[in-house]
Symmetry: C2
Subunit: 316 residues, 2 copies
């Protein structure tokens, strides 16, 4: 496939096209991903998550600039609707990212996270694969962390960085209970604000209460002022240390298996839906929908009917 | 089925059991939902979403108390990891909810939103159906709004309330761009804080720029101080007005169709995955995962293989 070849040779226009293709999905996207897949598995995939306003994009930009200075190439995927990387963002925010523009060793792509139920997780995984195949050393994935999103990103990444801000009080406290499970690194950003030390202490206290294996990785709690670049080197170093830990401890293989298992499940579900759509006419779908709305058929029975029909039409 | 019968007769223990069952999923859950489905379609389903710390739970509690005073029963589902309704919450927050406890006309259920990729949307839809069948007049669904979650809730609800807070600045501005698409009501909570009027003005300005149909529903921008119960009556009234609008304009049927279509799609995908798991041995899955990790097989080809195998084993 020409597009795959061009992308593998470093053509940036081909890369942009490929990302659009996998975001849309469909047979062409599948062919492309099949062609690229053998070239994946080299990038260090880093997830960055946190509440809106925590400074994720600024931190991602600063980390990217740091890794560029050390000679590494960086691909960035923003699946965060509040990210300045994404469409509809404010010009003022974009300006902060200018340090990265005009550098062919950085590629930034925002994913539309709206209006496509379920598909975004699959599309993000595919976009990571494309950037990985294109040869980027680091692939950073920025998602807003406040629910399902952060779990998804933890399943996509080798290393997950969770960003907190000082003194956000009880509400943040409640989030943390969940976030601890997925964080490989905790960063208190905007650490020049009041309450930063207390937030660091709280996070460390929560970690000490958590049931972490004695021989495993203890997530470091770091501080940063991302707008001024403070703390970025330490975060980058800890991120690299985490990857080294995964490899040395033999846990890297386990993460790769989890990633593959999740990816396969998502793709299987999309493929099954696509097969049913291909094999059952839209008027048959509409008739079932009408019965569900009229409460004469429950959606579970309707799903069974659709699958049976697609299954029996499979041979014909 | 006994459980369904007990639930339909108003047994609260049966309701709690049913919700646990549908959250877990599986064949028994399917049978229960099939039995209950004919009894659904009566509740007004209201989604409440907003960023962490916006005061969603307090507003939900205040709305519930209001509707109880007007004689309506209220079911609440919290799929928000930051909600005080959910497990792991802080005692202090729970106390705010005490006004609702001990009233059999209110039922609160929190959903674990962690660790189950994709399944939460299906489980939430099923929990709504259970509360609907149990006869609750209003079903309130609280989700944290910062990405995919709010789109999901808009697809589940008849009326979606989006909560903002004053003066959250540029970051919130960026969220709004997306949130306007799903909001039927906009509420600026914590309206006693500085900047509330400006936030109201900004939201109205954004609405006036949005491409809303002239003959359609224009989302009202309301203010509230939920902790003191201020503004709650107006929000409840606007929520009821929105349902009346949907019915009178004939758009209610369209929303019901959209809800059914989405539900069917989610259930179809879960069912397909369950069928493949039932028909392909776990050692065959493991072998495919190993090939994916080794990059000798791409996950799209693996999904095709699994579906083909399940399809051909379907008759046997």
């Amino acid at each position: 496939m020409d597009l795959a070849q061009a992308l593998l040779e470093g053509n940036r226009r081909a890369l942009a096209q490929a990302l659009t293709l996998v975001e849309t999905g469909g047979p062409q996207a599948r062919m492309l991903l099949a062609a690229l897949f053998a070239h994946t598995g080299r990038a260090h995939i880093v997830g960055v998550t946190g509440a809106p306003g925590a400074g994720k994009s600024t931190l991602v930009a600063a980390l990217a600039a740091h890794w560029r200075r050390t000679g590494r190439t960086v691909g960035i995927i923003a699946v965060d609707p509040t990210s300045p990387f994404t469409r509809g963002a404010i010009l003022g925010d974009r300006i902060r990212m200018q340090a990265l523009s005009g550098d062919s060793g950085v590629f930034i792509r925002s994913m539309a996270s709206r209006g496509r139920l379920g598909g975004i997780a699959r599309a993000t995984g595919d976009a990571v694969a494309v950037l990985d195949a294109a040869g980027f050393d680091m692939v950073l994935v920025e998602t807003v962390g406040a629910g399902q999103g952060e779990v998804e990103i933890a399943a996509t990444a080798h290393t997950t960085i969770v960003i907190e801000t000082p003194g956000a009080g009880d509400d943040i406290q409640a989030i943390k209970a969940g976030i601890l499970e997925i964080a490989d690194l905790l960063v208190v950003n905007k650490a020049d604000r009041d309450g930063a030390e207390q937030t660091v202490r709280q996070l460390r206290a929560m970690l000490s209460l958590a049931d972490l294996p004695a021989d495993g990785w203890t997530p470091p709690v770091l501080t940063a002022v991302a707008t001024r670049g403070e703390g970025i080197e330490a975060i980058a170093a800890a991120t690299e240390r985490h990857l080294a830990y995964l490899r040395e401890s033999g846990r890297f293989a386990g993460r790769e298996q989890e990633r593959a298992r999740r990816e396969l499940r998502l793709i299987l579900q999309e493929t099954a839906l696509a097969r049913v759509h291909a094999r059952v006419s839209s008027s048959d779908w509409d008739a079932l929908i009408a019965q569900i709305v009229a409460r004469t058929l429950d959606p579970y029975a309707a799903a069974d009917q659709l699958l049976d029909r697609a299954w029996s039409n499979a041979g014909g």
